[in-house]
């Protein structure tokens, strides 16, 4: 076999492998959306984050607008602080917005549901590094059952 033919086949091999990688990256891992696009940071404090994890999605009306960057514990009050990375193209959330930890389906993954608030003259737009004040924690099933049983006892 001539050198030229071998070189062509090796080149084709590399091309096939790169195509496989691109397919895995774009079609399977969907790196285009969750990748390194421009984003800004918001914080939110919760009482209980339930099963929320780093890289959980942040959704507005079901549309993913960002991801959870990190979850830490406030060292003064010992409440969880969630750092959210939100896509730069959605940068007009007012400070009256609220954020809740929701569950997709009955047993599904937990995600952050962001609810945009109203705007008037006194309301400011959230900027990079601001905190969302109005938060609702995750519903913990055991606590819910405990409350239900307690109420029935009365």
């Amino acid at each position: 076999m001539t050198t030229r033919k071998i070189e062509i086949l090796v080149g084709a091999f590399i091309v096939v492998a790169v195509a496989a990688f691109l397919m895995l990256a774009l079609k399977v891992a969907n790196a285009g959306v969750s990748g390194s696009g421009e984003s800004y940071v918001l914080y939110a404090k919760f009482e209980n984050i339930g099963g929320l994890k780093v890289r959980s999605p942040i959704k507005v009306g079901g549309v993913v607008v960002g991801r959870v960057a990190s979850i830490d514990l406030d060292t003064v009050y010992y409440t969880p602080v969630v750092k959210m990375e939100i896509n730069e193209q959605y940068s007009n959330f007012p400070e009256t917005s609220s954020v809740a930890i929701l569950t997709s389906g009955l047993l599904g993954e937990q995600y952050l549901g962001l609810q945009p608030g109203f705007i008037d003259e006194t309301v400011q737009i959230l900027a990079d590094g601001d905190s969302i004040q109005d938060t609702r924690s995750a519903i913990v099933l055991e606590e819910l059952i405990g409350q239900f049983l307690f109420n029935r006892g009365n």
Binding site: A19, F21, A29, N30
Partner: protein, 260 residues
């Protein structure tokens, strides 16, 4: 009696350690030094063809079938929980994290590793390696180095092809045959697969496996007893040792990457 046993144990330990040392020296002699791209590149291309391109067929066929079997078996369990929409992540994660790198490495050890050992062992038996040294050509640089690099380059690429084909095979069975919704196959996969955590860790794994398999294959050939029996033993040892080492390292790497 007992001293004889002890002696046997001691001898095999010393032999093993000496083997490690020789394999390290072999790799050091082959890889360390000023690279000569003008001479080395054509040799590398030739080996990429023999090791990589010719392995493509077996990788594609086994990837396709493993993806299909995964989808078929995963479906029978998932459908009991009404969760057949999660077939995509099941197939993709098992391929990307485990089966892709590991099965590629096992097939590679059987397809290319054994051939490397036999080729180099025969070169040694027919004294071609000594002949090269007589002509002031370093056999480590001319024979070992291009084969090593070709293996290390082509195995991660083969694993990527294996993963991609396997996921398409899972799609073929899951969506086209068993009737899982095609949109949810891809969308749940995209929601659950992470480029760095899953895809790139799989590539790192197959990189490590490539070094293991090629190193073992080359060393067993280079160190073979130069008789027909010695070469056949060396070839068998290559496949057995490389497969077991790959499986052992897979456990360690999985524990490091996904265990924490």
């Amino acid at each position: 009696m007992i001293t004889d046993k002890l002696q046997t144990l001691g001898r095999s330990t010393i032999d093993n350690i000496a083997g490690f040392g020789r394999s390290g020296l072999m790799l050091f002699g082959a890889l360390v030094g000023k690279p000569d791209f003008r001479k080395g590149f054509p040799l590398l291309i030739r080996q990429l063809y023999v090791i990589g391109v010719l392995s493509l067929l077996i990788i594609v066929v086994s990837g396709l079938f493993i993806g299909m079997v995964l989808a078929l078996q995963g479906y029978t369990v998932l459908v009991k929980f009404g969760a057949e929409g999660m077939l995509g992540p099941l197939v993709a994660l098992s391929l990307l994290r485990e089966l892709g790198p590991v099965v590629t490495a096992l097939l590679f050890a059987g397809r290319a590793g054994s051939a490397l050992t036999a080729e180099i062992g025969l070169m040694k038996a027919t004294e071609q390696l000594s002949g090269m040294e007589m002509m002031a050509v370093d056999p480590l640089r001319r024979i070992i180095a291009p084969r090593f690099w070709a293996g290390v380059i082509s195995m991660p690429l083969l694993a990527l092809v294996f993963n991609a084909v396997g996921i398409l095979g899972g799609h073929l069975i899951g969506v086209d045959w068993l009737g899982v919704d095609g949109g949810s196959y891809w969308s749940t996969m995209q929601a659950n697969v992470d480029l760095y955590q899953d895809v790139l860790n799989g590539v790192i794994k197959s990189f490590v496996f490539a070094i293991i398999v090629v190193w073992i294959a080359l060393h067993k050939g280079y160190d073979a007893v130069p008789t027909s029996e010695g070469i056949s033993q060396a070839t068998t040892q290559t496949v057995v040792t490389a497969s077991l080492t790959v499986l052992g390292f897979d456990f360690i790497l999985t524990a490091l990457m996904f265990g924490g």
